[in-house]
C-alpha cells in the first residue's frame, strides 16, 4: 500500500516538474545519464562488457560453441540472444522462466544486432550444412534504475566487439576476432504528455511505461523499432522520435569507437 502511495507521489512530482519544462534530475529532455562501458570484465566469456547508464547496470557475456545451422541458412552462424531479469536487479523481478518483459528485451536487442548485420554470420561457418558457430548473447541485468533496454543493447555490441572466436578450444582452427561490421545503437524514449524524455530513469517511469526504442546503424538507417507500452503515439511524435534517436545514437556510437 505504502508503495503505491510512494509511486503516486513520484508521478505527481515528475509531472509537475515537466509542466515547468524540467526533468527531475535536471537533465535536458534529449540528454542521457552518464554512460560507462567496461569491456573484457568476464575472462571466462569469449567477450563481455559491463555498461552503466546512470545507476543502471548490465553485464553481457558472449559465448560461442559449434552447433548445427538452420536448414535454410546452412552456411551461416546462428545468433541466440537471451535476457535474464534476475531478481537481484529490481524488487519487481521474480525468479522463474523469462516473462514477457525479458523476452521483449532480448528480442529487441537481437533485432538491432541481426538486422544491422553487425556480425558477419557468413564468416562463422565451420562445415557447410552441419557445423557453424552458435553465438550466445547473454544479457544479465544487475541494477535496473531505468532504461535497461539501451544499456543491454550497448553492452551487447560492446561485448561482441571484444569477442574472440574460440576455434582452438574446439579443435577447428585458429582463434580469430568475431567479425563485427556495424555498430547498431538503441535509443529509448519515454513519451509523456507532449514530451519525449530520452533515456528515462526509473523515477520518471512512475508516470507509465510509454516507451519507444529506435535502433540505428552507422549509416543512420533505422534497423529496429519497438513501441512498448499501452499508449497512443501521434504521428508528429513519431517523426520527432526518429530524428532525435538518430542524433543520440551517433553520439553513443562514438563511445563504442573507443572500445
Amino acid at each position: 500500500m505504502s508503495e503505491d502511495i510512494l509511486l503516486d507521489i513520484k508521478r505527481d512530482y515528475v509531472l509537475s516538474r515537466l509542466r515547468d519544462g524540467e526533468r527531475i534530475d535536471g537533465r535536458r529532455f534529449d540528454e542521457y545519464r552518464p554512460i560507462e562501458i567496461h569491456t573484457n570484465v568476464i575472462s571466462k566469456a569469449e567477450g563481455s562488457a559491463l555498461v552503466k547508464i546512470g545507476n543502471t547496470q548490465v553485464v553481457v557475456g558472449i559465448k560461442l560453441q559449434p552447433g548445427e545451422p538452420f536448414a535454410d541458412t546452412p552456411d551461416r552462424g546462428v545468433l541466440i540472444t537471451n535476457a535474464e531479469l534476475v531478481p537481484l536487479a529490481s524488487p519487481t523481478f521474480e525468479p522463474g522462466p523469462p516473462d514477457e518483459n525479458s523476452v521483449e528485451l532480448a528480442r529487441v536487442v537481437d533485432r538491432g544486432i541481426r538486422e544491422s548485420e553487425a556480425i558477419d554470420l557468413t564468416k562463422l561457418c565451420i562445415e557447410e550444412g552441419s557445423k557453424v558457430w552458435i553465438v550466445f548473447i547473454d544479457i544479465h541485468a544487475l541494477d535496473d534504475d531505468g532504461n535497461l533496454m539501451d544499456a543491454s543493447a550497448l553492452a551487447a555490441i560492446a561485448a561482441l566487439l571484444t569477442t574472440t572466436v574460440p576455434a582452438e578450444r574446439f579443435g577447428v582452427g585458429e582463434d580469430f576476432p568475431l567479425p563485427v561490421r556495424d555498430l547498431p545503437v538503441s535509443v529509448t524514449s519515454l513519451i509523456v504528455n507532449d514530451h519525449i524524455l530520452i533515456d528515462p530513469s526509473r523515477d520518471e517511469v512512475s508516470v507509465g511505461q510509454y516507451f519507444m526504442t529506435i535502433t540505428t546503424d552507422q549509416d543512420d538507417n533505422i534497423v529496429a523499432m519497438q513501441k512498448s507500452g499501452s499508449y497512443l503515439l501521434s504521428e508528429e511524435k513519431f517523426y520527432e522520435l526518429i530524428d532525435v534517436s538518430i542524433a543520440r545514437a551517433r553520439e553513443i556510437r562514438q563511445l563504442l569507437k573507443d572500445v
Partner: protein, 245 residues
Amino acid sequence: MNEEKPKLIVDGKRLDGRSFDELRPIKIEAGILKRADGSCYIEMGKNKIVAAVYGPREVHPKHLQDPSKAVIRYRYNMAPFSVEERKRPGPDRRSIEISKVSKEALEPVIMKELFPRSGIDIFVEVLQADAGTRTACLNAASVALIDAGVAMRGIVTAVAVAKVDGQLVLDPMKEEDNYGEADVPFAFLIRSGKIESITLLQMDGRMTAEELKKALELAKKGAMEIYAVQRDAIMRKYRSEEEVE
C-alpha cells in the same frame, strides 16, 4: 539475409500481381462462435484467423484484479498445422512478444475504467499463417471486441508495410516478408472514420528515416481500406441480429 532470394518485383508488379499499394483480398465475419462473448473470423491473403473475446468477467485468482479498471489479457497462438513445418504447441518467445505488443495496442482503446475488478480476455488463434499474422489478428480482435459489446474509444486497424527490392509495398505476403529488406507492422486507432494515432509500431530490417515516413503514409492508406471491411462486418452482424429480433 537469405541468399537464394528471388526477384520480388517483376514489371512493376508484385509476385501475386498486386500493385505496390494494394492489399491482399480480405474477408471478415463477426460473431462466428457461440461460446465466446464476441468473435470474428478473418482471412487476409492466405492468413486464416479466429479471434474470441470473453468478458468483462470475473478475474481469478483475486489478487490479479485491479480495483480501478479491467485487466486485459491477449493471447496470440498458432495452431501446430498453421505453418509449413509443424509448430510445437504452446507459447514460444515470438508469440509471447506478439501477445505483449498486441495487448498494448488495444489497451489504450478499451474503456477499462468502466469495468473495475473485471477481466477482458482476447484470444486469437492463427489457423493458417502467411505473413502479417500479428496485424491480421489485431483486425480480428478489434471486431471481436465490438461484437462482445466492450466499450471502445474507436477501432484498431492494423497493416504492415515492407521494403522489397528497394520498393515500399503494402501488406506483404510470405515471400516479401522472407526476402524483403524491411518489415514495419502498424496499428492505428481510428475514430469517427479518421486515423488518430499509432497503437502498435515495430520494425525490423533497414530503412531510412524518409522511407519510414513514406511507409507510414502507405500504411494509413491501407488501414482505411481495412477499416471499411471491419465496419462492414460489424454492420452485417448487427443487421442479422436485428432481423432475428
